[in-house]
């Protein structure tokens, strides 16, 4: 095809900007070897903002290139913005943390963050199995390295190794599934797979195709840490540097969701009945296990890891609901939820970073004691993030949960909604427990916090703004999300 020779670079313009930024940063660090990384931070933030602006300017367009292997549609643009917001927040909250906690020399950190985001963007843009796989691997490889960034820290090493081994294992399943689908449909292009199945309904009963789809889904389920493919999550989240955990728990999950939605909607929409039941079971398991185990955690960081599993469970409710009549509402609820989660979850991790002090990691529940006394603003910010995570109005978390449950009710999945609401009630306990400790317990020790910096405050402020604005005025973003998923249906 002609456009292989003359590709439309607008489709990957933000990716290209980020790649250039990442390489400039890596080479700059190599040459100067500064310890403050001020230039890298500036370049990273600037590159992200430019990419964000380019993405926003292309947000309404639908263009495909490279033989339709990559497609820029509103759906992809929406996800790209989620990733870029997550990246911006991560850069803001990690500057001081990386200097204090990391090795002096962490020149690759910002470059890897940006490359991971490039991988996520490819995931959201890819309309072809191999492209999706490439995006997934670019993202995962960067994350493996990021998880083990603290080379002298055992926990960080353990996290990286576990993540890598299990990640590779899951990737095997995914490739296996892809090969089956390719073998049966004769193509790796999503639309063409869909057409092949539509033209030959006998394929629907083909055990090979079902096996292929399920093993492919195992790979995705691993990436979004759905139960029972979640077990790496708490260990990795706890061991990885806090800023990396904040990053990992939002963007990469959203990217996996983006690819999964595209695969199921464009290639396998006719297999709905098969994956409807599957996701129903997985959603219930994911919510319930995530919330119940979160109850038993003493480390807030680990608690947030389990809470991220539980949130995936809520999102999967909307996934199931997309099979029902109002697929646009259900899918837009997913998009909205992921954006809201990016703000509130990164915000909560930012407070963990904020809490670090001499000899104290800021991850234990006890570290929150008396926070309201020592830093009323920090405590208030955490309160809002936790309320949002628990789904209390008027926060983003509430609007997100409401739109998910609403979509499920419209689709007639009442039992799932009831289970989801009960789970929310359980979850409120462990979120609010932190609030109780912050506001009602005396601080164990005196003294200030080491981790604060203007950029950290800026990150917290941005996360707060997102959490509150999406909570108070969710209408516009929800509508944008709805318009962006329509092209998939």
């Amino acid at each position: 095809m002609l456009d292989i020779l003359v590709p439309d670079f607008r489709v990957i313009a933000p990716e290209l900007i980020l790649i250039v930024t990442a390489f400039v940063i890596i080479f700059w660090e190599l040459i100067t070897r500064t310890a403050r990384h001020g230039m890298s931070i500036f370049l990273g933030a600037a590159g992200t903002l430019v990419a964000l602006a380019v993405t926003a300017s292309l947000a309404q367009k639908t263009i495909s290139t490279f033989g339709d292997a990559l497609v820029l549609d509103p759906f992809a643009s929406f996800f790209k913005m989620i990733f870029l917001v997550g990246l911006l927040l991560t850069i803001a909250i990690s500057t001081r943390y990386m200097v204090d906690e990391g090795t002096k020399d962490h020149s690759e950190y910002y470059g890897l963050l940006i490359l991971a985001v490039v991988g996520m963007m490819v995931l959201a843009t890819g309309r072809e199995l191999i492209t999706i796989f490439l995006g997934l691997e670019l993202m995962s490889m960067s994350l493996y390295v990021l998880a083990g960034l603290f080379k002298t820290d055992v926990r960080s090493n353990e996290a990286a190794l576990k993540y890598f081994v299990l990640g590779s294992f899951a990737t095997c399943f995914m490739l296996f599934g892809m090969s089956y689908i390719y073998g049966i449909a004769g193509t790796t292009h999503l639309r063409q797979i869909g057409r092949a199945i539509a033209e030959n309904p006998a394929l629907l009963a083909d055990k090979g195709l079902i096996l292929g789809m399920f093993t492919l889904l195992v790979g995705f389920a691993f990436k979004i840490s759905a139960v029972p493919f979640h077990q790496w999550t708490p260990d990795v989240y706890e061991g990885a540097p806090t800023s990396v955990t904040a990053f990992m728990s939002a963007g990469p999950k959203a990217a996996a969701f983006a690819a999964m939605i595209r695969v199921l909607m464009e290639a396998l929409p006719l297999m709905k009945t098969d994956w409807e039941l599957l996701f129903t079971v997985v959603a219930v398991l994911t919510m319930t296990v995530g919330n119940l185990v979160a109850l038993a955690q003493e480390s807030v960081k680990r608690m947030l890891a389990y809470s991220s599993i539980a949130h995936v469970g809520y999102i999967l409710i909307a996934f199931v609901a997309s099979v029902g009549g109002h697929a646009d509402r259900a899918l837009s609820a997913i998009l909205f939820y992921l954006l809201a989660y990016t703000f509130m979850n990164t915000g909560a991790f930012a407070i963990l970073i904020f809490l670090r002090r001499e000899g104290i990691s800021g991850e234990k529940l006890d570290d929150f004691a008396g926070l309201s006394r020592r830093s009323p603003i920090g405590a208030l910010a955490m309160l809002i993030f936790l309320f949002s995570l628990a789904g209390i109005p008027p926060t983003a978390g509430f609007a997100a949960k409401l739109s998910v449950f609403y979509a499920a009710v419209q689709g007639g999945y009442y039992a799932l909604v009831v289970i989801g609401v009960i789970n929310s009630a359980v979850a409120a306990y462990y979120y609010l427990r932190v609030v109780v400790v912050m506001y009602m317990q005396e601080p164990a020790t005196e003294g200030g916090y080491a981790g604060t910096s203007p950029l950290l405050w800026a990150g917290i402020a941005l996360a707060l703004a997102g959490t509150i604005v999406l909570g108070v005025l969710p209408g516009g973003v929800l509508e944008a999300a709805r318009l962006s998923v329509i092209s998939l249906l």
Binding site: L161, K162, V165, L166, F169, A170, F173, K207, I210, L211, F214, T215, L217, V218, A221, F222, P228, F229, Q231, W232, P234, D235, D274, L277, L278, V281, V289, N291, L292, V293, A294, L295, A296, V426, Y429
Partner: protein, 647 residues
Amino acid sequence: MTDAVALVPLFPLLAVLVNLFIGKRLSKKAVGILACGAVGASLGASVLAVAGLMAMEVGHRSVEVILFPWIVSGGFQVPIGFLLDPLSAVMILVVTGVGFLIHVYSTGYMHEDAGFARYFLFLNLFVFAMLLLVLGNSYLLLFIGWEGVGLCSYLLIGFWFTKDSASDAGKKAFIVNRVGDFGFILGMLLIVYHFGTLHYGQVFARAPELFHAGDLPMVLITALLFVGAMGKSAQLPLHVWLPDAMEGPTPVSALIHAATMVTAGVYMVCRSSALYELAPVILSLVAVIGCLTAFFAGTIALVQNDIKRVLAYSTVSQLGYMFLAAGVGAYVAAIFHLVTHAFFKALLFLGSGSVIHALHEEQDIRKMGGLKKYMPTTHRTFVIGSLAIAGIPPLAGFMSKDEILYEVFNAGKGTGWVLLWIGGIVTALMTAFYMFRLVYLTFYGESRMDEEVEKHVHESPPPITVPLTILAVLSAVGGFLGIPVIKKWNIMHNWLGEAFHAAAEHTTEAATHAASAVSHLTVELGLMTVSVVVAVSGILIARTIILRRPALAEKMRNDYSFLYSLFLNKWWVDELYDLTIVNPLKRFADMCWSVFDVKGIDGTVNGTAKVANVSGGVLRKLQTGFVQNYALGIVIGLALMLVLAFF
């Protein structure tokens, strides 16, 4: 100028906000000036607005100032708007005028209290809510004010909340008022249901078009609204909270529980006259309840020994008069009595406060006596107030009470109505008696004070005596607002007449009816004579029993011991309520708590939490930390998925 009405509630509200945020940091003097200044400014704005209203043409004196839309829900709209007409004009003048005097008095009375700023915060808030109540242009705004004054009343009754009796009294007032408010809300909902709006003008204009007199919706609406009035204005059977409300500071009793808030029910019934005229049955009920309450509370006041309780029951009794008047369609008379009552009852309460203050919080009149020589100003003003309420011409109380009795006599609806008049006259006799029993026991005769107390008795300072003097003057001459017999000079009638269109026909009809029977003037003068004779005899009986022959009092107490203890124990109404309502409710609540709540709900909740926690702990064990186990988990997961898919 009438636009100034928007400023009337604004000043107290601003003072509330200032006091709320920086009140604790202000000196007592600044707080006092702020609070009094706000109400004073409000009084000024009221005078200005009313002057503007007077300048308008008779018959068109009604101005609505819409501030902003508040509720807009489909066809149902409630703007925040004020209605200034002759009726609300009278009310805002009374509220801000008497309110201002009581604020000034309070700066003296509460001077030593630690909660000085808090006190004025509540008092200003009360004035704001009361002004909203009387100025609102719809039932909903009236209700907001209605609830606002209820809240302030609760807060101020329980102002000394460390005292059990005070916080109990506050709760009692609040709860009893809820019963009334419940009725009021239902009434409002019915209005919305039938009229689609709560706006006075629209409701009153449509009511005669949609309904005939005696139609069920009208009967229900007016009855339910009257239930609200019973609560707020302490009418039988919801009167029990008002005497207990005397636990609050005395100026509060004067302002809220005598002059203004408790008359809100009377105002509401008069405001709704257009509706009540369409429900003659309920109007009669209002009259009967009013008369019964007047009589009933009068009997209790005869024998009480707490100076404030006598006044409290007297207030209940006088409110009964006002409803009696409203019930026979004499709305002007009701409002007239409301105004004069505000003057003399505020005076009497403030006077009692002056006495209580001088005697170091002593309220038992058996431990007073002979105060005349110590407290000349308090004594003089108190006697003027007592003469006024007793109905001695030409003081304020005589004019208004006489008008009520005249209207009742002339209502001319058969023999039943003569009974109402007799009830009124008997109550008048009792009023004169109990007031002068109070005067004689407090200010005359031998001193029965403790020696220690007697040494320190002194006249109160100017912030207290000046308002007393002003109120005494108002109690003396306030009656001339409604000079009887010569209609042309009757300012009250000329001013308020147009506010009660529907009622106007009613009374004219009654008047012509009466005129045809006997000469109009003869009746009026005859009734006046009866009133005066009754009032004077009441005073003389009190003088005989209390001052001249105390032994007679002792003998009567023994001879009529049943009646005495019936009155002294307030007809055992509180005990009856405890027995039939309060205690069964408490037992039911206890049962709900111990069985339903503790075992049922708490058990379920705690049990669920325990299950969640335990299962969380168990599931946690699956998280072994070994990569091999995790990988196995993935495989098992896939296997289960395939089983699910294929089988």
